[in-house]
């Protein structure tokens, strides 16, 4: 088994041994449950989860930093990072393993929301289309993957979990505001650049059931870029 998989497995299981893991699962399930009951489950309405996915994507904003904040920051604070990076594992595997463990946990956070799909399926006539639902979940995983990569970088930059959370959260909020709001005072080229990295636009496409290769590549390549930066940040700990 590769070292990254070993680290990912430990990381994934550790979320279930810590209160923070269960709190994140419970809060996400409760909040998306409210969104589902209030917005999606409407008598006489169209059986679609489009609004659910749009709001679920917003809820990723506080959830993903809560998951990623401890990945490397806690290892550095507690001293376990020293034992980890002096074992025969490359720094790239450490970052990848940590990230994959968090991503797997994010999938576990999303899993309870499948109960909403099942509920809608049972009570609707005609039944909802499967395509947009699959695409919606894919968008949440891709979006969460990008957010977690940003969080992994923040966690590699500091030993303080709270600071890692805040760095990730405010960076993501700034990115969403910049790419989703029309700002007349910004020059055209900058408007175009912000539009090119617009997250909301892509999530909305997924929610319609349109799985664009370009959008998927955007999320994956963005995550890869932030993971590469996190790798650099971890390496730089040796020189700092």
């Amino acid at each position: 088994m590769s070292a990254a998989a070993v680290i990912a497995g430990r990381e994934f299981r550790s979320f279930f041994r810590l209160p923070v893991g269960w709190v994140v699962i419970a809060l996400y399930a409760a909040l998306t449950g409210v969104v589902f009951a209030a917005g999606t489950l409407q008598p006489g309405g169209v059986a679609t989860m489009r609004d659910f996915f749009a709001l679920a994507a917003w809820l990723m904003l506080p959830v993903t930093p809560a998951v990623s904040m401890r990945l490397l920051a806690e290892e550095a604070r507690s001293g376990t990072l020293e034992a980890l990076v002096t074992s025969p594992v490359s720094d790239a595997h450490v970052v990848l393993g940590k990230y994959l463990g968090a991503l797997a946990f994010l999938v576990a956070v999303l899993a309870p929301t499948l109960a909403f799909v099942a509920t809608l399926w049972l009570v609707s006539d005609p039944r909802p289309e499967a395509g947009p639902i699959v695409a919606g979940y894919l968008s949440l995983v891709l979006l969460g993957g990008l957010y977690l990569a940003v969080g992994t970088l923040a966690s590699a930059l500091t030993n303080n979990q709270t600071l890692a959370f805040l760095l990730t959260f405010f960076f993501l909020v700034a990115l969403l505001l910049a790419s989703g709001t029309r700002m007349d005072f910004v020059p055209d080229w900058a408007q175009h650049a912000f539009y090119a990295v617009s997250i909301q636009r892509r999530v909305a496409e997924f929610a319609k059931g349109i799985v664009g290769l370009g959008d998927a590549v955007f999320f994956i390549s963005g995550a890869v870029c932030f993971l590469a930066l996190a790798w650099g940040a971890l390496e730089s700990r040796r020189w700092r």
Partner: protein, 319 residues
Amino acid sequence: MIKAAGIAKSFGRVRAVRGVSFAVEPGQVAGLLGPNGAGKSTTIRIITGYLPADEGTVQVAGFDTRRDSLEARRNLGYLPEAAPLYPEMSVVGFLRYRARLFGIAPRDRVRAIGAAMERCRIEAVRGRRVGHLSRGYRQRVGLAAALLHDPPVLVLDEPTSALDPSQVVETRELIRDLGRTRTVLVSSHVLGEVERLCSRALIIAGGTLLADGTPAELVRRHGGPARYVIEARDEGRKAEPALRAVMGVAAVREERADGHWRRLGVEAGTDAPDLREPMAAALAGAGVAVRELSARPASLEDVFLRLLRAADPARENAA
């Protein structure tokens, strides 16, 4: 083996390690000894590959820690200071994780974990959460993790710091036993620990290696002039002039007086021979009754303090 050649490391303007060189062979337990801030931890971290040296090279089991970093780490078992572990994991779960991380084959894993737990006497807590263990047990779990892959080189940073006296004795025995076939480097600021545990002491201060040798060699080389203690019935106070008249005696001072009995400390001059016989003869000649006359050998502590004072005169003045 561990071979450090001219390693140096600075943090900003602070030079933590300055051109330290030494080699520790298989079958040796070497103690890296120094006061706080001496550069011990930085040296240890360079050897384990956690920090890169600005200058110089380190080889672990023949592998350069920068060029063949992963291979060097495969041959190294490392117990960092305070044995940091994951508190939410069980002892056996943690060891299983470390075994996987070191690539121990599944068929060998159970045996390796069992052997490490037995050696470190932690079978009784195998199912307990690490966070619920006493510091002594955590230290032993960290040591078991360092031994899992049966490495030829062990680096242990303060391995007995959290243990109770009986555990300290057991752990010293374990480290001595491991050192029969392995290269072991132990970092400590406890002089007695190094004296009892190590076949070799490396004294470091201010980032510089001040001395390197067996404790006996260091005492011989750096222990300073010989000292003697004498207990004599000396009502007429004849002992001191008689001793001062002996060739080679540099100083005599009273340490304690108990009625007619006086305890005297004698310091020999540099390169003086064994003075016990001429001093006994001089005291007998002066009519002084003696109930004790013995050489007081210098300890590693004396060596340590002398070297530190020589390296940092300000410390001597402060003392």
